[in-house]
Symmetry: C2
Subunit: 300 residues, 2 copies
C-alpha cells in the first residue's frame, strides 16, 4: 500500500453544488462562496457553468460571478462549457479552464443531453480545438461510471472507452463520476484498473456521490489505487436530479478529514473550509451535508 | 489484498441504538425490532442491557424483552452485563451471551464508569468465572480506541493492552470501538496491526461510529486487515452521549451494502433489514440514519 503524498481537491460546490437549487442565489453570494473557498486554500474551484439558461437557470449569472471573484494567484477558476457557444462565453468571462462531460451509459446520454455518447464526443472536437487555440485547458467528466439510473450496471470497459476518447481528444484530466452513488470500494478499484489501461492513472480523478454512504470508502479505495485528484463539494452541496433520494456530492470537509488522517497534504485549512460551508448553508437555509462540519460546529 | 469471504454482523441497534433515547419505548416495540432483525437474517443481536435502571432507564425492561422475543435457532441473543448483579439478571432472563466493556482511555473510564481501567478489568474477574460456570460466552468491548472526548489521542499500545487483558480473562472476542467516530482509515489499519499482536485478528471486531463520516472507510480498511466481524446498528440508531454532534453508530444497511458490493456473504436480506429500520424509525419519529435506506425508500 502506498498512498499519494498530496492530493488536489477540485471544489465543485459553486457549480455542481448549486446548479440544482430551486431558489434564487445572488451573484454576490456565489462570489462570496468562491472567495471563501479559495481563502480556505482550495486551489481549484469550478465556479459556474456556461450552458443555456433554459437548461440550468441557476447558472445564468456565471459571467457576472467570474467578473466578481478575487482571482488568487495559483488558483484555477474553471467552468463547465459543454459546447462552442458555452466556450465562447467562458472565454469572454476569462475562464482559465473548462470542463466537458460525457456519459458512460447510452441511456443517460440520451435522457440527459439528448444524443448518443458518440455524438456527444463528436461535438467536443471543434470545442477542443478552439480551447487549445485560446490556451485553455479542458477537463473531461465521465458520468455514471459505476451505475446508471436507467441502465443499472455500467461496464468498466465502456467507461474506459469514453475516458480514452476524451483523453485522446485533448482532455488533460478525466474525472470519473459515480453520479448516482451506487458504487462500492471493490468496483471502484476494478474500474480504476480497467480505465487505467487507457488513461494514465495520474490523469484520472475520482468524483463520488454519497447517496448510499459509500463515497469516503470509495475515495480511500481510489487512493489505494494511486488516484490523487478528487472532486468534492463544500457542505456536500448538490446531488443528481436524476437519482431520487440522492444525498449529493461527497462533502469536501469529510474528504479533507480522511486525507488529514492519512497524513496527505492538500493545502486546505479545515476551519476556514467549515466556515465557508456553514455560510452558504445559512444563505440556502439548508442543513449542512458534511458530517465533519456538523460535529465540529456542534462542539464550537 | 485478500478480503474475508464472509462477515458476521453484530446488530447493536436494540441495545446501543436505543439506550440513549429519551422517550419511552414499549417492550412490544423492542421485541418487534429484535424479531424483525433476526427475520432479516441477522445471526447476532444485542437485545438489551442488564445495568442499573438509574444509569440507563431505557434498558429497564430488558428481561421482559428477552421473555418476549421469538428465539430463532442459530441466532445469538446477547446483552450487556457489566457486573455480577447484571450477569445474574441476564442469566435469569436466559441470555445466551453477555458483553462487558472497558475504556482504552483513563479519563473516559473515570467519567463513564467512575473507576480506573485496571479497576474496571478487576471487577470482571468474578463475572468471567460465573459466566464460564454458567456456560455463557463473554464478549469484550474496548471503547475510545481511536480517540477520547477528554484525552484526545489514544495510543494503540494502550488499546492493545486493554484488549489483551480482556482476551486473557476469557473474552472470546474483543470489539474495538471508535466511540466518538474520530478515527480514519490509516489509524484503523495501524490499530489493528498493533492490537493484532496481542489478540488474534480473527477474534477482533470493528465497532465504528459515523460522527465524522468515516465509518464505512474504516470498515473497508478493517476488511483489508482481515477483520471479519463488525458491530452496526439498524438505521444508524444511537450515538454516544459523550460526543456532541454524534451521528451515531454506523448503519447496518450501509455496511451490508458495502459488503454486498464486495461480494462478501452475511446471510442478511437487505429489503427486510430496511423494513426493520423503517419501522423502528416510525415508532421513534426519527429520520432514518442509513443513507442506503433513505435512497432505497425514496425509490420504492
Amino acid at each position: 500500500m502506498s498512498l499519494p503524498h498530496s492530493v488536489r481537491l477540485v471544489e465543485v460546490g459553486p457549480r455542481d453544488g448549486l446548479q440544482n437549487e430551486k431558489q434564487p442565489i445572488s451573484v454576490a453570494d456565489k462570489v462570496r462562496l468562491t472567495d471563501d473557498l479559495t481563502a480556505a486554500g482550495l486551489s481549484y474551484v469550478e465556479v459556474g457553468s456556461f450552458v443555456s439558461p433554459k437548461w440550468v437557470p441557476q447558472m445564468a449569472g456565471s459571467a457576472e460571478v467570474f467578473a466578481g471573484i478575487q482571482r488568487k494567484p495559483g488558483v484555477t477558476y474553471a467552468a463547465l462549457a459543454p459546447n462552442m457557444r458555452g466556450l465562447e462565453a467562458a472565454l469572454e468571462a476569462r475562464v482559465e479552464e473548462v470542463a466537458v462531460f460525457a456519459a458512460a451509459s447510452e441511456a443517460f446520454s440520451q435522457k440527459n443531453i439528448n444524443c448518443s455518447i458518440a455524438e456527444s464526443l463528436e461535438r467536443f472536437v471543434p470545442l477542443m480545438e478552439a480551447a487549445k487555440a485560446a490556451n485553455v485547458r479542458v477537463r473531461g467528466y465521465v458520468s455514471c461510471v459505476l451505475g446508471c439510473p436507467y441502465d443499472g450496471e455500467v461496464d468498466a470497459a465502456q467507461v474506459a472507452s469514453v475516458a480514452r476518447e476524451l483523453y485522446a481528444m485533448g482532455c488533460y484530466e478525466v474525472s470519473l463520476g459515480d453520479t448516482i452513488g451506487t458504487g462500492t470500494a471493490g468496483q471502484t478499484r476494478h474500474l480504476i484498473n480497467v480505465v487505467g489501461r487507457e488513461v494514465p492513472r495520474h490523469l484520472l480523478a475520482g468524483h463520488f456521490h454519497d447517496t448510499y454512504g459509500q463515497a469516503l470508502a470509495n475515495v480511500y479505495a481510489s487512493l489505494l489505487e494511486g488516484i490523487a485528484v478528487f472532486d468534492s463539494s463544500v457542505a456536500g452541496l448538490g446531488g443528481c436530479p436524476y437519482a431520487k433520494g440522492a444525498t449529493g456530492n461527497v462533502a469536501t470537509e469529510d474528504v479533507l478529514y480522511l486525507l488529514q488522517g492519512l497524513g496527505i497534504e492538500t493545502g486546505v485549512d479545515m476551519d476556514k473550509l467549515i466556515d465557508a460551508g456553514a455560510r452558504i448553508c445559512e444563505v440556502l437555509g439548508k442543513a449542512n451535508g458534511s458530517r465533519v462540519a456538523r460535529a465540529r460546529l456542534a462542539n464550537r
